[in-house]
Symmetry: D2
Subunit: 343 residues, 4 copies
């Protein structure tokens, strides 16, 4: 019953098998191997776009490097105040951009209201005394398990583009969003105005497989230098590439995300049927935020349930429960039973 995050589970067997299978003979280092070339090509097919693609090892690096390609060191990145880039990356965006500033925006459930974006942009009227707003960073699925429709993304992107900003999408959980939306990867990204995507598979069954995908190819200019100096050019690139190839074959990545989403829905349904429990945000992807009475929280933890207390009051604990490809229905049902027995 480990619902701490979607990275607590193991690597999916098909992906691990592909890593094993890649372990044959010599291969040119630093991404000069055949598997890397094939993985890049496969990502292009999946997104139906002749994008520039760079594989890296972590999502934090993917986000921070992607931003570094679209803002100057004296630039500003507008993002939700609770976006991962603002609150969970220990200043990696500041490091890789050379000091750009993240401008936090408000909004329920990790969503940025278009009006908030417009209002904030309107406040940049003092020229060089302020940082130069150059990027909008979105997250889909959001930090609170919400999903942006292509229309929502497109609406925000249009405002950004109208002000000359580039649009970044943190897609650490893009698969979960796509599984919920039943739209194509292209529709959720470049067709909706995304210029550069952090495309993550690590939370979705891979070992460590992240990519920076430039739909706006000019933004990728000299990005190879950025990746190298960030220590993100793995010498044995084939093992990253193998993960992408396996995950993207026969829509495995989407199947895994669908399962994770289904487990979250099952969990939410089971819990919210119980007295005193209510969800804090709509459950659209693979995260469940529920307010738990303190005694129930204590009982669950005591019984071995692992999850993350997001915020606490005297009466309740706001719990974040994350599901993944490896979450089983039995595990979910066990937690629900436990909760039922404890309320």
């Amino acid at each position: 019953m480990n619902f701490a995050s979607d990275n607590v589970g193991p690597v999916h067997p098909s992906i691990m098998a592909a890593v094993m299978a890649a372990n044959e003979g010599s291969a040119m280092p630093y991404g000069g191997d055949d598997l890397t070339a094939r993985a890049v090509e496969r990502i292009r097919e999946v997104f139906d776009h002749d994008a520039e693609v760079f594989l890296v090892a972590t999502g934090t690096a993917a986000n921070a490097l992607a931003l570094s390609a679209i803002v100057d060191p004296f630039g500003g990145v507008l993002a939700h105040g609770e976006a991962h880039v603002n609150t969970d990356e220990c200043g990696a965006p500041e490091l890789f951009t050379g000091g750009a500033k993240i401008i936090p925006l408000p909004g329920e459930g990790g969503r940025i209201p278009p009006a908030a974006l417009r209002e904030r942009l309107a406040a940049f009227v003092h020229g060089e005394h302020q940082v130069l707003p150059q990027a909008l960073s979105l997250t889909n699925a959001t930090e609170y398990g919400g999903v942006l429709t292509p229309e929502e993304t497109a609406g925000l992107a249009a405002i950004a583009h109208a002000h000359g900003l580039g649009v970044h999408l943190d897609g650490a959980r893009l698969a979960n969003a796509l599984a919920a939306l039943e739209c194509t990867p292209a529709e959720a990204t470049w067709k909706a105005g995304v210029d550069v995507l952090s495309f993550g598979l690590t939370k979705n069954g891979a070992m460590c497989a992240e990519a920076v995908v430039f739909f706006d190819r000019e933004r990728a200019h000299r990005f190879a230098w950025r990746r190298k100096r960030a220590g993100q050019l793995l010498s044995k690139g084939r093992y990253l590439a193998a993960q992408f190839l396996a995950a993207l074959q026969d829509d495995l990545w989407l199947d895994l995300a669908r399962h994770a989403n289904a487990m979250a829905a099952r969990l939410a349904e089971g819990l919210t049927g119980l007295p005193g429990i209510r969800t804090a945000h709509p459950v659209q992807a693979n995260e469940v935020f529920v307010h738990l009475p303190r005694p129930l929280h204590a009982a669950l933890v005591e019984a071995g349930a692992i999850y993350y207390p997001w915020r606490e009051t005297e009466q309740t604990v706001l719990a974040r429960l994350v599901t993944s490809w490896a979450t089983s229905a039995e595990e979910v049902d066990r937690l629900i039973s436990l909760a039922r027995a404890s309320v």
Copy 2:
């Protein structure tokens, strides 16, 4: 016949098997898992020191982060002019240290003569007009396949410490040095004055397994923050840890390095017996630098040999040939035969 680098070969089967074996059940993310704890403990045993240990994904990151812990942004790192940190990391040390300056030192075969170090340090007499010299970075084995004895390391470290500098060792090929020296890991590192080590296994049969090892534990203060913001805290840490545990079991890492060194010696012996070929540097570890007549170089390349032309003149090519755990005696002999047939 791929002698391009020691990272062109596959992962050693025992290490890959350990990665597979780690793929079971849930584990706390970001290095909070049991395997990571055991890997850290094992590294401490190997070095016979209660060091602070941090796992990361690449050697470039290990070096740059290690340096960031021992120099200020306004500091200077004295290093050989051809050290990896100065010539092959695209400015990663500058990025992670916040702009510290690498002060290049001369020396044959990647070795820093003590007199050159002393002389350079003596030139820092202008206070804040110059960067503040704060670190010495050594490499063992060197970029040219030489090996520093514990006495050499200790001599340079003593000069550095006398001037208040910290001592970093780039140990991307430490195993090869140890295999050549037949000394203990402790003797080649902290007993010789090394304060912080980049300990690499990737060139020695791992997939991606690097560690920053602080023998001077105070230098590790808040290093966890540095690693995270550098995008080097892998969420699924167990797969890094498994590699270390497998490589460090029963001295596998040293056996692999011994094999690599033996192949380099065999290659050097075979080639230098031929007319017109001479080594550029003593072959002490797993790299062979030979001056090849241009026609011979052309013939080898034509026959499918892969290696790196380090420097070229009208008459000759200085070739770098690197061996690894995966290099076979047959491969070596094939290259020698080819060369014999072509001179």
Copy 3:
């Protein structure tokens, strides 16, 4: 009628005369001259503290450099969201700290409520995933013309210190605060818990004269290197020093601030007596924020009044009017008359 800022006026004649008087003979460069030594000594006397003092050329540099001495690149600076360091310095703090993050706090009139500070600090529970909160930056007088009493400063500083943070004070308008408070420089700064002060005279009659004053002397360790590499070590330091010596003689700096404050009070009193005009913030120092009906704003601008429209709605303009040592009562009265004639 230029109320745009307190830096639109000329240099006070006594200060300019001192600059002229310094222009005699040779003097050692880079702050090695006698005047600099005397200015440092004088600042120590004024603050009744054996502080470490560094002269620099701009307030933005003073703030950013001061912060760089008390936070790591992976650190966080808690500051009011509308503090100069967060909104008006184009990311200079991010540049000079190497990427530290400013964590914006809410609060009326540029004041940070102690509860807001406590609550924000309590949210740092995720270790290295978040930046490390290391500094609190206060401003006195605030961006909105308010003044922090020594008790307020001490209260916030105590919270900060209890959490291990250093306390910075942006004192670009410290003189105006002191003039309002009628307390000693020591009482408003180090006796209230300030560790490092940006001490500005430029807005108060100097040409360009700012100092970073470390009451916590250990924080000044190697600050000379930071100042030099920031391009803030002026080669002809005597001309900076002369300004400090003149301003700090016979309390000239406090007299100038008292005059500026008096002019602001006169302006506020005159304007708020008029129908439809109300102040947005209490006028405690040398800034007046008033909501002006749009027609009145248009009339004033038409008549040649210069000031800064801070925020605009359909009906009103929030105007910022700043007074200085050079503002005359006539000028103030003229504006009031104009306003009276236009409402």
Copy 4:
């Protein structure tokens, strides 16, 4: 007898008078004043080019900011190993460029031989593993008092441009070079291929007056943001501007440089006539480098002569003696007499 540097003397009376004269009435801050507009225009006239011009406070800032506009953070700046940007600015270029690397080149007297530049550029063949060479930084007059002819500058610039590099000129002593060359400012700069110039007057009689002059106007894109976030946008810009206007009127700046050069020539001639004294470098501008026997050096210092011992051996001291507009013939002759009496 202070020959320590060209910044030990006072401000020239005409320049100081202009600063005084600027001290009248209100002026818009941050360079929005009339004097700044006129100074920029005057600099354009002097260089006969519609350049983009930005005033800053120090030469170190001018250099570092200029470089930040023409290299990426992952870029390389080729410069003489003893150039001010490499040895005397405490890493300011690294700070302002975000970590770009200065690649030191050899050469007598601070001059870069074209062959050395070509050879170094030819070594950049490893793509993203190396920093990307993007700029050449020259110095005129050089650190050793030599002067680059327009032809020399043009030759080096042509090599740089052919490799896609931008060309920066550190003109802290450009006036001295022009005085020696008797060529126009245009001929020594943009007509010889210089893209961006650090134009310094501080060493030539000003108080603090430096400018970054972009002959390649596209390079100046968003430079206003860079200057502001570097803390180099002075709020009371008129006092910087006044210095430029005074110095550039009626060729005062060139007259001052001619005098400084003449004093250096007189000093060199007087000293080298004495037994045991020889110059280390040709004296073309306002610096004299002479090898002095140790007893003579001791005698001069004893007698109150101030200058900088550049390098020392057991027998001799290499002394750097710098002259300026404020150096008198009497002072020079006194030193020569002293030397004559002591050899």
